[in-house]
Amino acid sequence: MPALRLAAAVLSGLLFGGGLALSGMLDPARVRGFLDVTGAWDPTLAFVLAGAVTASGLGTALARRLHRPVLAERFDWPTRTRIDPPLILGAVLFGIGWGLSGFCPGPAVAALSGGALPVVVFVAAMLAGMAAHGVLRRALPVR
């Protein structure tokens, strides 16, 4: 049932993009407001994350009771568990870019539909950063 699987993926993506729009997370100034703990702190993002983790947590608990997903052969669970330097360095670099712009990957990709040049510039640079990692990963001292 590949068509059903694709439809399920499109529906999931739609809910994600709609949720970002409803929650105010497409607005980089609001996201930066949450990160601005020494200024006029905006708690919105904490409420978004609380709602998201609640629903995602219920789904995860249910998934753990299933032998396989409804439409696919197996669950694609993350396998890595080590807390290593690449994890922390990567998260720190991501946080710097997030703080500078107010964009993380989800809202940036969702906001592409607005067609604004700054969003296109951010996403193009993000793709370049991902490609750079793909090229450099073998040369990096840490993986």
Binding site: A9, T81, G99, S113, H133
Partner: protein, 137 residues
């Protein structure tokens, strides 16, 4: 326009999206991973990821139709700063194996210690970055 209840409701939708993607397709709704996956050879997994991302891009216009208007978007950073930020976000999310969705929405829901550490690290560095921007010229 955005209130805290609508923020929580929007968060529930995002979490529902991640739950459905996991329960139906067996996949983790981590946006940076799905975007990076577009560079891999086409196959069933590629099509599923691309379908999710297509839905993600269509989400805000569908919301705008239902809500009667596009949500607020205030971009404060200049184009050069956005380019630098994009490079850091792209490189950092690959090196760190995830972003706000993969480590935050999905990883925290799985009670993954690895994701919890990543979330603390990117929140702390994001907050320090914004704070530094207030102090520096």
């Amino acid at each position: 326009m955005t209130t805290l209840p609508s923020a929580f409701a929007g968060g529930l939708l995002i979490g529902l999206s991640a739950a459905l993607f996991l329960l139906l397709d067996g996949r983790i709704a981590g946006i940076s991973g799905l975007v990076a996956g577009l560079a891999r050879p086409a196959g069933p997994a590629w099509r599923i990821g691309a379908a999710f991302l297509a839905g993600l891009v269509l989400g805000p216009p569908v919301f705008a139709l239902l809500a009667g208007g596009w949500p607020a978007m205030r971009i404060e950073a200049s184009l050069p700063v956005l380019a630098l930020a994009g490079l850091l976000v792209g490189f950092g999310t690959r090196l760190g194996s995830g972003c706000t969705s993969g480590h935050g929405v999905c990883g925290l829901a799985r009670l993954s210690p690895r994701s919890a550490v990543a979330v603390v690290a990117f929140l702390a560095s994001g907050m320090l970055t914004v704070a530094a921007g207030r102090v520096l010229p």
